[in-house]
Amino acid sequence: MAQNELVNIGKQWDKDIQPYLLGQSIGRQLIPKNMKLSGKGIGNTTVQSFGYKATADAITDYDIRNDMGSGVDIEGAKVIIPIQQDEIEIKRRQFEAMISDGMAVDSDMIAQMAVKVAQELDKTIIQGWKPDGSTYVVKGFYQVAGLSDAGSDIGTYKGALTTVAIGLQKFRSAKIYSQGYNLVLAPAQYNELLTSESSTGIPEWEKVIKLLNVGAPGNPGQILASEDLAAGTGFMAPVSTPANSIYFDLIEAQQPTNDLRYKNGDEKYGDIMLRLVGAATPRFKYMNASTGTTPVVCKFTGL
């Protein structure tokens, strides 16, 4: 099999993995993709972010005043775009057998790799990326949250409602407005909310959805579970709509893409190396430079 045939298989697999990349990712449901800045390729290593430090409030007057233009005090910062990747090696004979059995192109293997890469991106979007294990170089939703609250025990009926109400109040105080908010919980708390009902059998789930979507048509705000959150934690954020890209967006320099090649360049007997590589980062705005946080996310620490 020639190298260009491998390239063709790789291209077909790029299409096959799309449902797994999108369907498995909680992160992609939380943040709108910036179509203008995405797709520049892996050479795109950083993206500029900014924070409005302070602008004066608007005023009311009878006449138009020409003396109140406040300069936009923008503080810039570069956000790194990390690579998410997975790689496997398939024995050549196995690979040839799969081809002859007609099962290579839709194998579970490539789907599993796509899921793993999607999970890795989720980790970056939800928590962030800390290459040294302690300091976040890229901050995700939970780490970048500038609003925080202990929250209320979700294992107790009305705990989730109280928590969401606190979150809404905090967003209002910080002047962060959205038509709908998402609530993301650690799996244990998500399960508690799934089964939470009053002593008379009224489920809490629907009430929480209503509260997340006060004044928003079509219930865009959802309750999601993330394996990347520690037990007892969660966060709220404006829903992922183009309008809310004023708060955050996803910069995807390269969508996860397959690369198939022969090990050591041996086209006749070399094993097949399969690599799936993507590059994406969440970018948050309204960043406060001194705290490294933004009021567009509210996290809960004691649910």
């Binding site: 949250a145 609250d149 202990a150 606190i166 905090k170 910080a174 406060n288 996290k299």
Partner: protein, 77 residues
């Protein structure tokens, strides 16, 4: 109780009080631990335990000393 310095823009404690960046919050030890784990706050130290002198100082505001009730011995019941 444990003292922590708030690192986020605002933190609402379980007791319902809001603290802002840089403020020192006195939280129950378990809540303080969760806040530190979540990068919401950093440890400052244990909250000081009220001393006997501090209690005496409170008595200096003109209040009459309150007689301590005699310890019941259980006799005569």
């Amino acid at each position: 109780m444990t003292r922590v310095k708030i690192l986020t823009l605002v933190y609402g404690s379980a007791a319902g009080k809001d603290y802002k960046t840089g403020e020192i919050a006195e939280l129950p030890t378990e809540e303080a631990q969760r806040a530190v784990d979540a990068n919401v706050a950093e440890y400052v130290g244990a909250a000081p335990v009220p001393t006997a002198e501090a209690e005496d100082e409170e008595d200096e505001f003109g209040s009459e000393p309150v007689a301590t009730p005699a310890k019941k011995t259980g006799k005569g019941r």
